[in-house]
């Protein structure tokens, strides 16, 4: 039997059966599901893709529920199932299918897509806690690729400008820890004990840095009209 001569429905039935055996911890043949995925992702056969969704959605849903941070997101599992499957589709299509080699690697990658969908939601939640309006702007509509590039360039320019204000590398490290990673002085001291022995040292330096940043006219203009001098 050659797998690529099997009808799609037969292939899907075999894949479903072998997947069921896998869930019952029984010996199973992975070649049917691998061929189904190959037709779905490499040959872009819609019906094969539909079968992949139907067979693997329960597994993906299970992974979502079992993720240690799922409950922290406050969102529904169905949303992550959808994001994970969609991410998996576009990611596998963008790569060389043969690089996955075998079903177990494909399924690991699918599981990874569950993890990344939850992590992205968590990052967004953290962002909202830090600056509600900035995060709202970004979630009001999904930016397309060119908008993402523009925003990335703006931030890079901002960072370069701040680097000019603070030529000392320790100051830039502090700015990164405090503003980019949102770490507290005690956490910064723990990470960099060779540079700052006590939290107080971090606090004093941060005080100076924050004073300079708030006073900088160009920075205030960059961040918005409400910060410009009258």
């Amino acid at each position: 039997m050659t797998f690529n001569s099997l009808s799609l429905n037969d292939l899907a039935d075999h894949c479903a059966e072998e997947t069921s055996k896998f869930h019952r911890n029984q010996q199973n043949d992975t070649r049917y599901c691998y061929e189904l995925m190959r037709r779905a992702f490499k040959e872009n056969v819609s019906d094969a893709l539909t079968h992949v969704y139907r067979i693997y959605e329960p597994l993906v849903r299970n992974w979502v529920y079992s993720h240690s941070h799922f409950a922290d997101t406050g969102e529904h599992a169905e949303d992550f199932v959808n994001v994970a499957m969609t991410t998996f589709y576009f990611a596998v299509r963008s790569k060389n299918f043969e690089d996955f080699g075998e079903l177990s690697r494909l399924l690991s990658y699918l599981k990874m897509c569950v993890h990344t969908s939850i992590l992205q939601a968590l990052r967004k939640r953290q962002h909202i806690q830090i600056e509600p309006h900035e995060a709202d702007d970004e979630s009001a509509h999904t930016p397309d690729d060119s908008e993402k590039v523009d925003r990335a360039l703006d931030k890079e320019q901002l960072w370069e400008y701040i680097r000019q204000l603070f030529p000392d590398e320790h100051d830039m490290l502090l700015i990164r820890c405090y503003f980019v990673y949102d770490l507290k002085p005690a956490e910064i001291t723990e990470l960099h004990p060779a540079i700052w022995k006590k939290s107080r040292d971090v606090t004093v330096n941060l005080q100076r840095i924050r004073r300079v940043l708030r006073a900088d006219k160009q920075l205030r203009e960059f961040l918005g009209d409400e910060f410009e001098d009258d």
């Binding site: 869930h23 819609s46 539909t50 969704y53 139907r54 597994l59 299970n62 529920y65 079992s66 993720h67 240690s68 941070h69 529904h76 599992a77 169905e78 949303d79 959808n82 969609t86 576009f90 990611a91 299509r93 963008s94 690089d99 690991s108 990874m112 897509c113 993890h115 990344t116 992590l119 992205q120 953290q126 962002h127 830090i130 600056e131 309006h133 900035e134 995060a135 509509h141 999904t142 930016p143 397309d144 690729d145 990335a152 931030k155 890079e156 901002l158 503003f179 980019v180 990673y181 949102d182 990470l191 941060l206 005080q207 924050r210 940043l213 708030r214 006073a215 961040l223 409400e226 910060f227």
Partner: protein
């Protein structure tokens, strides 16, 4: 803004007092100043807004996405990007933590549990950020009825600069649904995923071709929900479209 009599005389020390007031562990004299001096309170509010905006703009600005970190772990990433991420991981505690969590998660093998009813009800529902397509008034059928045989005229929907034409053809015991996207950025929708849901069941998943077209078959007459999502994560949702 110069301080008044109740505040220190140098602008630097005044600004340091503002900074102290921004932090959770401000000393009692700063908290008193905040409660008693309206100008100081206003300066602190403005400073808080500024720092919040700066933090919001810079928060993890150069971190790889979670997906890039995943691709890095699977070694499915270009060498230059991998090198950049390796360097980034030497100083980013958040990305280090996320990568460790990924490795742990991949090792787990949880038992299968049945799908919750509530989750099934949510299938096909729009999510925050989704664009909901709006159905326009129908085109009168008279001009085209003779040409179309046993099918309706197209339904036309609009969504954020995109027009979607949906046509239904009855064929023996099922319906053939043909969709056509029209948009200035049509190339961004080539290869987009189209998920078709009826009631709470996923009926089929298909893709948009290079010319913006897609089609699928239905056996039941219940209204459909469509979710069309492109590789950038932009999604258009058609809610409860009647087939008959």
């Amino acid at each position: 803004m110069m301080p008044d009599e109740s505040t220190p005389t140098t602008p630097e020390s005044y600004e340091d007092q503002v900074t102290a007031a921004l932090d959770d562990d401000a000393p009692p004299e700063i908290k008193r100043l905040l409660a008693e001096n309206k100008d100081f309170e206003k300066q602190v509010a403005l400073a808080r807004q500024f720092e919040s905006k700066l933090k919001g703009t810079l928060f993890r600005w150069d971190c790889p996405t979670a997906q890039e970190l995943g691709d890095y772990h699977f070694q499915l990433i270009a060498p230059t990007t991998a090198a950049r991420i390796t360097d980034h991981l030497t100083h980013c505690v958040h990305c280090q933590s996320e990568l460790e969590a990924l490795v742990d998660f991949l090792k787990q093998s949880p038992p299968i549990t049945p799908e919750a009813k509530l989750e099934k009800l949510l299938r096909g529902m729009p999510r925050p950020g989704d664009i909901i397509a709006r159905l326009l008034p129908p085109i009168p059928n008279r001009a085209t009825a003779g040409l179309r045989g046993d099918s309706q005229g197209p339904r036309i929907l609009q969504a954020d600069g995109m027009t979607l034409f949906i046509e239904t053809e009855k064929q023996n015991s099922h319906f053939l649904i043909k969709g056509q996207l029209a948009a200035d950025d049509l190339e961004a929708w080539s290869g987009a995923l189209v998920q078709v849901v009826q009631e709470t069941d996923l009926i089929t998943v298909t893709t948009v071709d290079d010319e913006g077209g897609f089609q699928f078959q239905l056996d039941k007459t219940e209204p459909v929900k469509l979710r069309i999502e492109n590789s950038s994560g932009k999604a258009v949702v058609v809610q409860d479209l009647s087939i008959t």
